[in-house]
Amino acid sequence: MLFRKLIQNWRIYLLIFLALLTLAIWSAYFKEPDSNLHIFIFDIGQGDSELIQKGNYQILIDGGPDDSVIAQLGKVMPLEDREIEEIILTHPHADHVTGLVDVLERYKVDRIVYSKVDYSSNIYQSFISKIEKKNIPVTNPNIGETEDVFDQGKITYLWPGKNAESYKENLNNTSEVFRFDYGKFSGLFTGDAELPVWQEIISKNKNLILNITFLKVAHHGSNTGTSDEIASTIDPHIAIISCGQNNKYGFPHKKTIGALEKIGADIYRTDLLGTINISTNGENWSVK
């Protein structure tokens, strides 16, 4: 049988294996990374998961409703890179946190940002206990706090800071909202933040949500996360909606689409296009 012949040659395979091993070890030293910054909005069904990646540096925002984020990461991360520098969990709902537990299991994660809001669900508790078990540093940044990432990236946190506990009646309103700047490119990550959060941000930090290139539309395109006023204030060039195909909530809402069309933003949807990849060098950008 075929199998027998192949196994008979196992010594040759051993040699091939060793030769390839040597090759792999050497090629690990000579690798040229893609110098552009990429933002991926993953197609993970009805949920949220985005990745900011530059070379070997990754920031993962949310993990989606199941473990399919693992396969998505596998597609876009460099093969030998098994480390994610930062994870940001916007809020503890299952469609945002579930995949992160698998990520913590499989990848080395350096630090985690989340609001530490109290919520008793199996999956959120597993997320917390996994962080504790692996001793990963956790921060809950204040509003207005900034964080420098890789060479010239900057994250500015806009919500919730210390407000998480007082807003936790609707967990969506404890969502981490932050601005990400890279050269002239800027993005606004919004989790599931609803109108009360936006009113707060507009009244206190309006200047921080201006001049936005890319907006991750809040709450999967629900009309509770976007209004005409919010859309025209942010006025992004690109608006991306992360939602599942034929999802039971009917996301995205036609009012949201209407508001975004009115301001002339280019709208992309993961339920129609799959994973979306924004590529930028800090000056120009392109969307695939």
Binding site: M1, L2, F3, L6, I7, Y13, L14, G74, R106, N122
Partner: protein, 524 residues
């Protein structure tokens, strides 16, 4: 070793008895008879038949009596175990808190994990099927406290769920979202527990090093699991007809024996190698959760290896039947309710009886320029596929049209990838940094397999769906055709007439298989 070469009738009698037993179990599985109602009648019947054997001197008649007895033995065995399981009751429909021990390696798929729980809180010791969220993970041997409503399982419209559960000894399920609390992790068999720990460690190493879906595939081809496969990928695999590479098969077992024999021969004696093989295979079988296909392969391979060790050749028909009988005797439910068991046996029968026919076809002149590896891949795939096709058709209603092409492209690199993953994990356990790089090598063949599956499954003609109405007719027509081909082939070459005739004379082609390779090695 009764089935070894003796006078012809003797070992053929054994063949008949094995078949009688299997038929008995099979027939019994169609009747839900209370064992305690029929066993007295059955006892009388046994006495009558036994008396018959002593009364008559006619050998043929005696064989008939014996076969009937064995048939009823099989019939009664199934009904006994079935009755025993039916009589296990729990307070169905009530919401209760109870405790038990996780008695299987939890199966994780997507967002959920499922396992069997042994509990004796309801009188008799019984098993409950539990499906819960994927996190927190439970392990074999965990003692847990559960609060939920206990349910009596009912069949789905197209799936015999009750019998499926009975196969694992389970007679109850729970409502969705049971509340589970871990009490301790000190239960279970400690040997099995450490084996499962090694398995989980292996899975972790691969998962941490390789991206998805390659890591799931890597784990799948080495220890046979569909864990972590996305639905679309599973679908792709069955459309292109390569699901068998992630189901455990004889490959995995044979690889162990061949390596052991190759490496150890010259250092220690044949018998010691045989004993070592038994230990390694038993370890592997336990670690992989004792899937039917592995046990089948393990029993057959070990019996043949034993035969070679004592210098005798086994009769293939008896060997196959013996291993089936052993497995069915241990768990009668596998015969009808375990597709893996059926597929494994059918594929093996195909390899043994049909591949010689194909090999003969390939000796024709037109096939002169066909490379050897293509020929053997075709022979192997076709002969196994031809036999499992009716079963696949009736079980899934889907036939892969391009299985032949994809298998030619994929099968040749399977052993190498298995070897790579195995070696890399060993290296990882010693020096993790080198092991990581080593595992990346396995990425290439795995990626290749996935690319092939994805590419070919997109072709519109890769698989055809056949509706229920046509299936029966098609299967009968098909079985007849194959039967005629086999009968014609083996009746022309009387010395190869293996199913019914002289087992002593294996044809040249017949002996071209893994086992003769083994025997060559051991004899040398």
């Amino acid at each position: 070793m009764m089935m070894k070469k003796k006078s012809i009738p003797n070992f053929r009698v054994l063949t008949i008895l094995f078949i009688a037993f299997l038929v008995g179990v099979f027939v019994s599985s169609y009747f839900d008879i209370d064992f305690f109602r029929i066993y007295q009648i059955a006892f009388l019947l046994f006495l009558v038949l036994l008396g018959g054997i002593f009364l008559f001197r006619n050998i043929k008649l005696n064989i008939c009596f014996a076969a009937t007895m064995i048939f009823f033995a099989g019939f009664l065995l199934f009904s006994f175990i079935n009755t025993k399981l039916n009589n296990l009751t729990a307070p169905f429909g009530q919401t209760l808190e109870f405790s038990g021990i996780v008695s299987s390696y939890p199966d994780i798929s997507g967002n959920s994990q499922s396992f069997y729980l042994s509990t004796s809180d309801f009188g008799n010791s019984m098993k409950i099927y539990i499906s819960t969220s994927a996190f927190p993970r439970y392990s074999y041997g965990d003692a847990i406290k559960v609060k939920s409503t206990i349910q009596k399982p009912t069949n789905f419209s197209d799936f015999d769920w009750v019998s499926y559960l009975k196969r694992y000894g389970a007679t109850a399920t729970l409502d969705n979202n049971p509340q589970i609390k871990l009490i301790s992790n000190s239960g279970g068999n400690s040997l099995l527990k450490s084996l499962y720990r090694i398995r989980r460690n292996f899975e972790n190493v691969v998962q941490k090093t390789l991206p998805e879906p390659e890591s799931s595939l890597g784990i799948g081809i080495l220890i046979g699991s569909k864990q972590g496969f996305s639905k679309s990928l599973i679908n792709d695999f069955s459309r292109v007809g390569i699901t068998h590479i992630i189901a455990l098969s004889g490959y995995n077992v044979t690889i162990i024996i061949i390596f052991l024999t190759d490496i150890l021969l010259g250092f220690i004696s044949r018998k010691k190698i045989f004993v070592l093989s038994i230990i390694f295979i038993a370890t592997f079988v336990a670690m992989t959760g004792a899937a039917s296909s592995v046990i089948r392969a393990a029993i057959i391979t070990l019996l043949i290896a034993y035969g070679k060790t004592i210098g005798r050749r086994a009769d293939m028909a008896n060997l196959i039947l013996l291993s089936a009988t052993v497995m069915v005797a241990i768990n009668p439910f596998v015969l009808r309710y375990d597709t893996g068991f059926q597929l494994s046996f059918l594929a093996f029968v195909g390899l043994i009886y049909f591949s010689p026919i194909l090999q003969k076809v390939f000796t024709r002149r037109i096939f002169r320029y066909v490379p050897e590896f293509v020929k053997s891949a075709v022979t192997e795939t076709l002969s196994a596929q031809i036999f499992v096709l009716p079963l696949i058709l009736s079980a899934f209603g889907l036939i892969s049209v391009i299985a032949l092409i994809t298998n030619i492209l994929i099968l040749p690199i399977i052993p190498a990838s298995m070897l790579f993953i195995f070696l890399s994990t060993l290296i990882y356990w010693i020096i993790p940094t080198i092991g990581k790089l080593a595992l990346l090598i396995s990425y290439l063949p795995l990626k290749y397999i996935i690319l092939i599956a994805e590419y070919f499954s997109k072709l519109p003609i890769s698989a055809i769906q056949i509706s229920g109405r046509w299936q029966v007719g098609l299967i009968i027509f098909y079985a007849l055709t194959i039967g005629i081909i086999i009968l014609r082939h083996y009746s022309k070459n009387t010395n190869q007439f293996l199913i019914f005739g002289n087992s002593a004379s294996f044809s040249k082609e017949q002996s071209k298989n893994v086992f003769s390779y083994l025997s060559d090695k051991i004899k040398r």
